[in-house]
């Protein structure tokens, strides 16, 4: 019967055999099939099945097919439908329903048809009865199947039941039974109401009574049956097996990664034959040796298939397919594509065997059907070029001569999401760079950007020579001259040595490979052949410079250095490969079109859509967004190590170079670099250091400008929009959209797995942020450079050169032991201080030099996100996220007249920056600005010689910039409101983390104190908490608590500010106590001996007060923490969630087994270790997972808020830039942005965020009933606790969210 079939479709075969119900079902199935199926007219519903499998129901052909199929249904007797593949059809429709939004008319029709057909079916009634009959024997196993059955029935009968499954999952076991019962009941009623006349009253009541009886019995049994007990030994054994399986999977995954990189490289090097042989060799080895990691993987097969496809070798392809079957590897769309392409290629050959081709094609088509892989999948999902697509179509035509390539229009729109409903689909925008530059400039700039990126680096002249940091300017000219000469000489010599050694080493390596018969192994050799020798030498010379100019106190570990060098090699190779295959050329062409788009006045699509349309219109030639797999980290390290080893062993320096006393001395050649071990915790860490003479040589003689990678400086033409996870940002790089720690593959895999449309909002907001053009604020830059060159200023946070560091004490022989030791300790302290000063000085030097380099230019910062979705500009040194000075150096390139309110906003912003009037209302700040106008003008005109009002500000440099802007506006001849301003105005969230918590928990008091409620004056949460703590303290002091009395008058805002701020980010009591103790230490009149006790007391009180004020916050935080603890502890999985905008987040904190980090190279330096860290197979670090989940979740919310604001600002046509919770725009558009920001906050928090999180976690992590161990064991209790905790969403308070819309100081 239908139910039997449905059930059998749900249940795994084994379980059917086992359960008594299953056995009955199987028996019935067979008889039914024998009886009824023979006469069934199959052809009638094949169409229908095809439709349900069809990928794009929306396209016109499919539409017609669907209609005809629906019509065809009329002719089918219902019996046939039920007995044959009803389950498939229903499945297909269900699939469609879940994929296509329910508004799609065609799916609707099919759903209607089926509903109409099946609703009156007496079979269903009978099926239901049978279930009821059998429900005496309902066991744990059939439980899920029954649920599923009800679900499917319900779905067909009534959309009301759609939510059933989610609801069901959230319930406890007993609840599930109850739920099931009520659902069956409802179902019976619904069935009845659907065709009332066909359902006699007696029937329903009969069903109901039977149901009740059956379910009662089941419930009783449920309570009676005890789950199976396992012994500790068994559990240990199970755990061991699970661990071994995980280990195995991990080895498999990392091996496949290594082999894939190797094969791809061989293919590209023009040695496809080697690639095929290598692959087969490993297949053989792994088949023969169980200890070898598994090799068979569909990606590897696809690589090899593609080689054959290009040759058109049908026999070989067929053999490979057999091999895939033998190794139990399921082919996917690209595999089918390769075979069909092969047929297409073979067709044009003289040796073409039509019959063979036909069998192959029909087999492929059959395989595709079995795997529900449509032809459009095969054509569009395998990253094939237009030519390949044609070949694939040729292939299909062997079996289906009239075949045409199905048209598939790319989808530009978003997935349905209530947050995005306000975005108009057809809206046309003004180009983000309209008015900033013209077409000719754009052409020139994009050419320049391409050139820079192809070169790979930018040379920037430093504003001060590096040697000035250590030696005064009047340093010995003669010495410098000698050093310059010697450096050139040495570098030439080194280059020669490196070239020679590299050649020899390569020869030796090749011989070694031959001698050890490792031609078919994963070795380092091809990686060293992928570039020209000169290119390697060039990279090594750069590495020498990097090492020599590196800091004395801090260098990355050798491992990091190796990896970095490996990455340079890889980047160079990737670029070369893309450029050779014509990708870069095509990219340049498409980018030209895109850039034109950017400067149009109106009628432009958003960048992503614009790019997608351009790509769709230019399909011929190579694919620009083809994914190149990057080399796994072990390869990078091995390659880097090989090159670094050459440097270490062969670069020598004359140690007597600067010994000028004896001219005839022979040079004393000693290695220029050496290894050093430093302990890092319990581990030792190896670093590469430079011989002091070489360091001196570079310090004195280096003429090299600062060399930056092309990808760490801003772009000079608009960035590419993100259209996929691997395509966007800089023009030629294959950067990823998300910055993840090394080894974190899991989240990226998840990003690739979810439908691309789900990530479009994220891409679009990043594109919006990236598209904003910037310019450098030159007057401020000049001033900053002046101060920097003249020795810095601590007050203005321009670092002093390390020269300014006091000289270390001299240890003389007449000192006592104690003095000597003290001098020694001081020396170490001073050395550290000097190191710190040097790095700060370098940082400022880099920033100012880059700013100086790009003055008078227009800049763009491509953005990417971290794993929580927070957006960051890619260039790390110089960007708008930087400190005060860097922010002051940047202006919008686009200018807009101030307008009436803009001038006021400018003044208010200026006062905000000073930090003088934090508690005053906006009008007060404006008045203050007007009062201080004299000082402001003075600061603007005579920044250094005047009164220096700007220097007392919280953010002096930005204040100065604002002063200058105000002055410029006042001086504007057409009146301030017509002054064209480039100045960004900031609107800052007041304690943004707490704002999100307060909104999540709807805390009335908390919400008010973080300005979610409308108020006359800005509320200050820190003062509020301080007042509450003070109240507690007075109470305690009255009770006679000593420490409370001692703290009288000490509880100031400042003391507890940091603690309040960081509670959101999960500060612990320990950390909070340290923060408070630090503040107390700074108080002059506080008795320092009580510091410890006082800080402990204050910490406790602060936490208590915060808890009282933010009632919901604490509950939510605790719930988050507890969920994360249980998920990582009990399930052994990292915590995962989906942000309201659809970005999947996985916390990348793993235990990182040391076992994976074995040495990368074997003793001969030839073979590459294939063990990589693959985080999907690692146990999570429970402590980190637990502590970090609350702040990370809040960060993902604040990033969502930012993205929403960004998207809506884009639609409103105003400029928008963000520094996390600080939003920037032009003065004249502040009001628009403020409104959007508030609306989006309300919209975001009107979503059931916590409930969605709960539903997601329940569906992902909670254990099914049968997995719950008996109550006695620890595991059983833990699992039950997990199931319970996940559903316990904290209660909400009474705050009315709409108030946010009227709050002036929410963001201010």
């Amino acid at each position: 019967m239908a139910s039997c079939l449905l059930l059998s479709a749900r249940l795994p075969a084994g379980s059917l055999q086992r359960s008594p119900l299953g056995r009955i079902i199987l028996r019935k199935c067979t008889t039914n099939v024998r009886r009824g199926m023979r006469s069934a007219p199959r052809s009638k519903y094949t169409d229908l099945i095809q439709v349900s499998n069809e990928d794009a129901v929306t396209t016109s052909t499919a539409r017609i097919k669907a209609v005809s199929a629906a019509r065809a249904l009329d002719g089918i007797s219902t019996d046939d439908l039920v007995f044959f593949r009803l389950s498939t059809i229903v499945d297909g429709v269900r699939h469609k329903l879940s994929e296509v939004p329910p508004t799609e008319p065609m799916t609707e029709t099919i759903a209607h048809r089926i509903r109409d057909l099946v609703a009156p079916l007496s079979h269903y009634r009978a099926a239901l009865m049978e279930i009821v009959d059998e429900s005496e024997s309902i066991t744990q196993h059939s439980y899920g199947a029954l649920n599923e059955y009800v679900y499917i029935l319900g779905k067909v009968v009534d959309p009301w039941m759609l939510k059933f499954k989610e609801k069901n999952a959230a319930l406890t076991e007993k609840g599930k039974l109850r739920m099931l019962r009520s659902n069956l009941e409802t179902l019976a009623l619904k069935l009845r109401s659907a065709r009332v006349e066909e359902w006699p009253e007696a029937d329903t009541s009969y069903i109901r009574t039977r149901l009740e009886k059956a379910l009662n019995a089941a419930e009783e049994r449920e309570n009676r049956i005890k789950p199976v007990k396992t012994t500790a030994k068994q559990r240990a054994e199970l755990a061991r097996i699970a661990a071994a399986e995980m280990e195995d999977a991990s080895r498999h995954a990392s091996f496949v990664m290594s082999l894939r990189a190797h094969l791809e490289l061989l293919i590209h090097l023009g040695r496809p034959h080697d690639a095929v042989e290598t692959f087969h060799q490993y297949l053989r080895v792994s088949a023969a040796d169980d200890s070898h990691p598994r090799v068979a993987h569909v990606d590897l097969f696809n690589l090899v298939l593609r080689i054959d496809a290009q040759k058109g070798d049908l026999t070989s392809v067929k053999q490979l397919f057999c091999l895939m079957e033998e190794f139990k590897t399921d082919p996917n769309a690209p595999s089918f594509a390769a075979v069909l392409e092969c047929v297409g290629v073979a067709k044009s050959k003289s040796t073409f065997n039509y019959d063979q081709a036909k069998t192959i094609v029909s087999q492929v088509l059959k395989g595709m059907k079995e795997r529900q892989c449509s032809d459009s999948d095969v054509i569009y999902k395998s990253h094939s070029t237009l030519e390949q697509k044609k070949l694939i179509a040729e292939g299909i035509r062997i079996a289906n001569p009239l075949y045409e390539i199905p048209e598939r229009r790319p989808r530009y729109g978003y997935m349905p999401n209530p947050l995005l409903n306000g975005l108009c689909k057809e809206h046309k925008y003004a180009g983000p760079n309209f008015g900033v530059l013209d077409s000719a400039q754009m052409k020139e700039f994009s050419r320049e950007q391409f050139e820079t990126e192809m070169r790979g680096h930018v040379d920037i002249v430093p504003i001060v020579r590096l040697s000035n940091a250590h030696h005064p300017k009047e340093g010995d000219e003669k010495l410098i001259k000698i050093a310059e000469e010697k450096l050139v000489e040495a570098e030439n010599k080194w280059e020669e040595t490196l070239r020679e050694v590299f050649r020899k080493e390569m020869e030796a390596l090749e011989l070694q490979v031959l001698a050890s018969r490792r031609q078919r192994c994963i070795t380092i050799l091809p990686y060293l052949q992928c570039l020209e020798q000169d290119e390697f030498v060039d990279l090594m010379m750069q590495e020498i410079r990097r090492l020599s100019e590196g800091s004395e106190t801090y260098t990355p570990s050798t491992r990091m250095m190796n990896k970095q060098l490996g990455q340079f090699v890889m980047n160079k190779y990737m670029l070369k490969r893309r450029s050779n295959s014509g990708v870069i050329g095509k990219l340049e062409e498409l980018y030209g079109k895109f850039a034109d788009n950017c400067i149009d006045e109106t009628g432009v699509d958003i960048p992503r859509v614009a790019w997608q349309k351009i790509v769709a219109a230019n399909q011929s030639g190579p694919n620009v967004d083809k994914i190149l797999h990057s080399w796994p980290s072990n390869v990078l390290i091995t390659v880097g190590k090989f090159l670094n080893q050459i440097i270490l062993n062969n670069i020598k320096i004359d140690a007597r170079m600067f010994n000028t006393t004896n001219k005839n001395q022979k040079p004393l050649l000693l290695p220029a670099f050496f290894k050093l071990y430093r302990s890092q915790g319990v581990m030792m860490r190896e670093e590469l250091k430079v011989h002091p003479v070489a360091a001196k040589l570079y310090r004195l003689g280096s003429h090299h400008p600062l060399r930056f990678d092309a990808e760490v400086v801003p772009m000079v033409s608009p960035p590419l929009p993100w259209v996929s996870n691997r395509f966007g940002g800089y023009l030629t790089s294959t950067a990823k959209i998300m910055r993840l720690p090394p080894g974190a593959h899991q989240q990226f895999a998840e990003l690739n797995r979810v439908p691309a449309q789900q990530l479009y909002p994220t891409y679009d907001s990043l594109n919006q942020l990236s598209a904003n053009p910037w310019i450098v604020n030159e007057p401020v830059l000049d001033l900053a450079i002046d101060i920097f060159v003249c020795g810095g200023d601590d007050h203005l946070e321009i670092p002093k050169p390390p020269l300014a560091c006091p000289a270390p004490p001299v240890i003389t022989s007449d000192m006592t032991k104690k003095e000597k030791f003290k001098a020694h300790v001081d020396k170490i302290h001073l050395k550290r201080l000097k190191g710190e000063m040097y790095s700060l000085w370098c940082d400022a030097l880099y920033k100012l030099s880059i700013a100086n380099h790009f003055r008078k230019r227009i800049l763009w910062f491509p953005h990417n996100i971290d794993f929580r979705g927070r957006a960051y500009p890619c260039p790390p040194h110089f960007n708008h996220l930087g400190a005060d000075l860097t922010r002051a150096l940047l202006l919008f390139a686009k200018g807009q007249p101030l307008g009436l309110k803009g001038f006021d906003w400018l003044k208010i912003h200026l006062v905000n920056l000073t930090g003088h009037k934090k508690r005053d209302p906006i009008s007060g700040r404006l008045n203050y600005a007007n009062d201080m106008m004299g000082d402001i003008m003075d600061s603007a005109e005579r920044p250094l010689t005047g009164k220096g009002w700007w220097k007392d500000s919280d953010e002096p440099w930005q204040t100065l910039a604002a002063c200058k802007e105000v002055a410029a506006a006042i001086r504007c001849e057409a009146g301030p409101e017509n002054h064209v301003s480039h100045f960004p105005i900031h609107q800052d969230g007041s304690c943004n983390g707490l704002q999100h918590y307060a909104a999540l928990g709807r805390d009335p008091q908390g919400a008010f104190s973080v300005n979610l409620g409308a108020a006359e004056r800005p509320q200050d949460v820190y003062s509020d908490v301080a007042a509450m703590v003070e109240r507690e303290r007075v109470r305690d002091a009255a009770k006679g608590v000593k420490i409370a009395a001692a703290l009288e008058g000490m509880i100031k805002r400042k003391v507890i500010k940091q603690t309040v701020m960081t509670t959101v980010y999960g500060v612990t009591r320990y950390g909070a106590r340290l923060q408070i103790a630090k503040q107390l230490k700074d108080l002059d009149d506080f008795p320092q001996d009580m510091c410890f006790a006082a800080s402990q007391y204050l910490t406790q009180k602060t936490f208590l007060c915060l808890q009282e004020m933010f009632t919901g916050t604490k509950l939510i935080q605790d719930w988050f923490t507890e969920c994360a603890r249980l998920i990582s502890g009990v399930c052994g999985q990292p915590v995962e969630w989906i942000s309201p905008l659809g970005l999947p987040v996985i916390q990348p904190y793993h235990r990182g087994g040391k076992k994976n980090f074995g040495s990368s190279v074997d003793a001969t330096g030839l073979r590459i270790n294939t063990r990589n860290l693959v985080d999907s197979f690692e146990r999570p670090n429970t402590m980190k997972q637990k502590n970090a989940f609350p702040p990370n979740f809040i960060h993902s919310l604040d990033s969502t808020h930012m993205m929403l604001t960004s998207l809506y600002c884009q639609q409103a046509g105003i400029s928008f830039v963000s520094v996390h919770d600080c939003y920037w725009t032009h003065p004249c558009t502040v009001d628009v942005m403020n409104e959007i920001c508030r609306d989006q906050f309300v919209a975001l928090h009107s979503q059931p965020i916590l409930e969605d999180l709960r539903d997601f976690m329940v569906s992902k992590y909670s254990f099914p009933h049968q997995d719950l161990d008996d109550g006695g064991t620890v595991q059983g209790i833990a699992k039950r606790k997990l199931n319970r905790t996940l559903t316990e969403v904290p209660e909400k308070g009474s705050f009315d969210l709409q108030q946010v819309k009227h709050s002036t100081y929410f963001f201010s």
């Binding site: 990097r546 106190t553 050496f674 430093r678 302990s679 720690p741 090394p742 030791f821 320990y1070 502590n1187």
Partner: protein, 429 residues
């Protein structure tokens, strides 16, 4: 019938079996051991165990051990010779004071006690020996390294000076008799830190060694004994730079062995299968004397730190071959080494401490030694040489520190989200 019986048995077993009962039984049994042992003790000693009943509980890894057998205490006291220095004997973790009393009975006039637990006091000893100069400090001398590091970080307090207050320098300086004598029981792996600290402070002649040489008599379990006497044959886990340096700078002598059972608390009975194979008897405690050498033949005092760094650096990887490693400092020095009889496959870990010292002397005698990068390396690594304790011992996990959310992976360099100034800015990407 048999199967029926088995089934019955199984059912019975299942009904009555639980791990808690097994553990309980095991604990009771081990307590029974202690009780039986106590019965054999003389009354005096039994009283001590009754007084400090917490000592009777077995602990899996005790953090300190106290002697409770009179005869053993006497044997230890006999080994601490009274050679008439001005300074009191420093006794670490005296506990109930059996060894203290034994030493006082032997006629040692002055003792300074460093108690690690508030459980014990010295008042009864002072009462019993009114003539002796007994000085009790409530701090653990074995944590001297921690106190020293704290002084280094926060120079406002003098934590070390408080412990070593009033001690006199030796009359004949370094070459004379030992200025200080330390007696005590070391117990856990953590106490090894004290030995490492002794090595580093001996090198720089600081804290304990500012007064002159130190002779210590330590009663150590086999796990520590195998460390302090490690040789290349002991395996590379034990034969590491800290142990080698200890043996180079100190004379390590085995004086006597005493039964482990005389020291409380007892360890938990170990699972036999999990026991690590040890060359030494775990039922013994080893009494070792560790005395600073007057000099190391051939190594001038000025080169001591260089020797220490030489060993620290090269023995980081014991399996590294000698000649290639040294050639990386001074190209061509291998010839001389081969002349001296070093094979090209000799590993650092194969050389006895004395041989390593000889190797250093050959290395340092090269004319290029002064200008090669070795000195620079020593200079850069001086933190590791002068304050090895600062890194290894103090950087324990701080309780409850929030993980740094932005960058907490040790290879996070390419993951920089923070806007903090970085050091090697130009090179990161």
């Amino acid at each position: 019938m048999r199967s029926f019986l088995r089934g019955e048995l199984l059912r019975y077993y299942r009904r009555n079996f639980s791990w808690t009962s097994v553990n309980e039984a095991r604990r009771r049994a081990s307590h029974a051991d202690v009780d039986v042992f106590c019965q054999t003790l003389p009354e005096n000693e039994r009283n001590i165990l009754d007084q400090y009943s917490s000592l009777r509980r077995r602990i899996s890894t005790p953090s300190s051990l106290y002697c409770v057998e009179q005869t053993v205490a006497d044997r230890v006291a006999n080994l601490v010779l009274n050679d008439g220095t001005a300074n009191p004997v420093l006794e670490v973790r005296p506990g109930p004071g059996l060894i203290t009393r034994a030493m006082l009975r032997q006629g040692i006039p002055a003792i300074r006690l460093f108690q690690d637990s508030a459980l014990f006091g010295a008042s009864s000893i002072k009462r019993d020996f009114p003539d002796a100069a007994i000085d009790s400090i409530m701090d653990d001398l074995l944590l001297l390294s921690k106190r020293d590091y704290a002084d280094f970080q926060d120079p406002t307090e003098h934590r070390v000076a408080r412990l070593l207050d009033g001690l006199q320098p030796a009359e004949n300086g370094w070459r004379g008799d030992p200025a200080l004598k330390i007696v005590g029981t070391l117990c856990s792996r953590k106490d090894m830190a004290f030995l490492r600290y002794m090595t580093s402070s001996c090198l720089s002649r600081r804290t304990l060694f500012q007064f002159g040489r130190v002779r210590s008599v330590f009663i150590v379990p086999s796990s520590i004994y195998e460390h302090v006497t490690a040789r290349p044959t002991s395996g590379f886990i034990l034969y590491k730079s800290s142990n080698i340096l200890l043996q180079l700078l100190f004379d390590v002598k085995l004086l006597d062995t005493v039964p482990r059972s005389a020291f409380f608390p007892w360890p938990l009975a170990k699972n036999v299968a999990r026991k690590r194979r040890s060359n030494f008897n775990e039922d013994h405690m080893y009494i070792v004397s560790i005395e600073a050498k007057r000099d190391i033949p051939g190594v001038p005092e000025t080169q001591m730190r260089e020797l220490a760094f030489f060993i620290f650096h090269h023995l980081t990887s014991r399996s590294r071959t000698v000649i290639p490693a040294l050639e990386q400092w001074i190209p061509g020095c291998g010839v001389k080494l081969i002349e001296q009889g070093h094979g090209i496959f000799t590993r650092f870990g194969d050389l006895e401490p004395d041989k390593l010292k000889d190797l250093f002397l050959i290395f340092a005698s090269h004319p290029e030694y002064e200008s090669c990068a070795f000195k620079e390396a020593l200079n850069l690594a001086q933190d590791a040489i002068d304050f090895p304790f600062s890194l290894a011992d103090v950087s324990e996990k701080k309780p409850g520190v929030v993980p740094d959310l932005d960058a907490d992976h040790d290879e996070s360099d390419e993951h920089h989200i923070s806007v903090q100034p970085r050091h090697r800015l130009a090179d990161e990407a």
